[in-house]
Point group: C2
Chain length 328, copies 2
């Protein structure tokens, strides 16, 4: 079943793209101007200065399984650096093997997102960070218990004091969130073939990838997948076969948001399978075809799919070089 | 309650140490001769040549959660590089949060052990590697299912072919074991303060650490904790408060082995807490005192404990510099 998008935002953006269609013809700039290379860092909130001390502490906390109820699950369990900072299973497996109902988003470039979680229920990484620690089906740790656990280690006292020098009692929930968010803001993947192409290296993408990029614009994918992380940050209604997840509606209670999810980033999409909010689609080609059908009302031909998938592969950037911290 | 050791091996070794007691007096060589620095590599079995291709593949498999039933547990979950390649909880937590009854041994320097598992039921790392994958309370994955899963990835076909070039069907159980064992043989921690001291750098250990080393010899700890990994590889009866684990007896059925466990390595003991087969002792000082009481029939004085614990800290070596692999 094919559904037209009901998002006002996508409609206006898509309309704008079509209105300038004549200029698209052979001028590559008309394509590349639709995009921007990934910056080295995402926006940094004034309230959470990105210091080396916070990044180091945040890395420790990200890999710290002892802030989970079982003592063996850390942020890195589901946001696994070996697996594109995600888990490559349909939906997350957490405390006592409980299975969640949404696919784990990658942490990579998550600082570029204008809201967090599939349903955007948190505005920023600081708001996101404490959710999975406490969620009963994820890490299942009471926040106060997590804080007590961290306070058992001298080294955490030292690291929190160094990262938050103005605080009398720096091992607290807000600082845990701030540190993890700071670390996550460093997990970016610049210099993909696409980024190098945008910066003028016309040999960085193959012919198929360039054709895929052009089709990505011409078909209208770019209406929602734009900006540095290739997401508009908006919520779009999407009927995923087999999914009854009401998405953004569960946050706002607004019928307009029923079955709507935030546009996911396409950065590193080739290494962050499986796809969609329930992780039900393994194959990138299938995912692209489904999006064409659902969001754009069109079936891509085989050669179009090949080019689009080739372009998706050009979005894989340099992975962050993170060494595993030695925890106390 | 204090138990004399019943091990024939410890008795004979300890007797030998006492017999030469006169020479111990002030001659440091009489102490250092009891030890040997950790070699850069452990013994390598002729049947499993240590190649770069196997090490690389073994690293991938070690971090690979998709050879577990849940898809989220890998060797690195319990043998966590951030936690001294162990888990720092009393006993392992595995599939669906099930809790095992033994403490996770570190992988560090495990190639130097003459048998594997607390009860020595496997002779080598090759034999050990496949156990936790299949154990229902650990990774809970049928071996054939694990092999099928790996075969889904082109990159694993390439890596297995490169690591085992003579094999027609290289993705098989023996090769999985050989690759993981090969990777593990590289996880050694040379150049601890103790090793540097043994090589002539008399400033590498503090006065307390040197005193601790001398007491370690004089009190007889070295009777069992000797050789490059500071374990004799033998099984010793040990009544651990609160533990009903029959240990080696469960393997041999020999009453002599009731409650016997293989002497654990003391390499990196300061970072591989908690201690003993059930992980019931958190504090290194308490662990040392308990061993003195149980194995040597003596209570160490406070200053003796301080020196022994200081010496234990001198056994922490350079951690292996392992980058997290990018899995397919």
């Amino acid at each position: 079943m094919i559904h037209k998008t009901t998002s006002r935002v996508i409609a206006s953006l898509f309309g704008a793209a079509l209105a300038t269609g004549a200029a698209f013809a052979d001028d590559m700039a008309s394509y590349t101007d639709m995009f921007e290379p990934l910056p080295a860092l995402p926006p940094i909130p004034a309230a959470n200065s990105l210091t080396a001390e916070k990044i180091e502490l945040g890395k420790m906390l990200f890999f710290e399984p002892r802030i989970s109820g079982s003592g063996v699950i850390s942020c890195a369990t589901c946001h696994n650096p070996a697996l594109g900072w995600s888990d490559r299973i349909p939906t997350a497996v957490g405390h006592d093997g409980q299975v969640g109902n949404r696919n784990t988003p990658t942490v990579l470039n998550s600082g570029f997102l204008t809201s967090q979680f599939w349903d955007g229920r948190e505005p920023d990484l600081e708001g996101q960070a404490l959710g999975p620690i406490q969620a009963e089906i994820e890490m299942n740790m009471d926040l106060e218990a997590a804080i007590r656990r961290l306070k058992e280690f001298d080294i955490y006292h030292q690291h929190f004091a160094a990262a938050f020098p103005g605080d009398d009692d720096p091992i607290n929930a807000q600082n845990i969130a701030d540190a993890i968010a700071s670390f996550e803001r460093t997990l970016n993947t610049p210099n993909s073939p696409f980024d190098r192409y945008l910066r003028g290296d016309v040999g960085a993408m193959s012919v198929a990838q360039v054709e895929g990029m052009k089709l990505f614009v011409d078909a209208g994918c770019v209406a929602c997948h734009n900006g540095p992380a290739l997401t508009d940050g908006n919520f779009h209604r999407f009927e995923l076969p087999g999914s009854k997840d009401e998405g953004r509606f569960l946050v706002t209670g607004d019928d307009f948001d029923m079955f709507a999810f935030r546009t996911p980033t396409l950065r590193n999409v080739a290494v962050t399978y499986p796809y969609f909010n329930n992780g039900s689609v393994d194959d990138l080609r299938d995912a692209v075809q489904l999006m064409g059908q659902q969001m754009l009302g069109q079936d891509f031909a085989e050669d179009e799919l090949e080019n689009l998938v080739a372009f998706m592969h050009a979005l894989t950037g340099e992975m962050p070089n993170v060494t595993i911290p030695a925890l106390p």
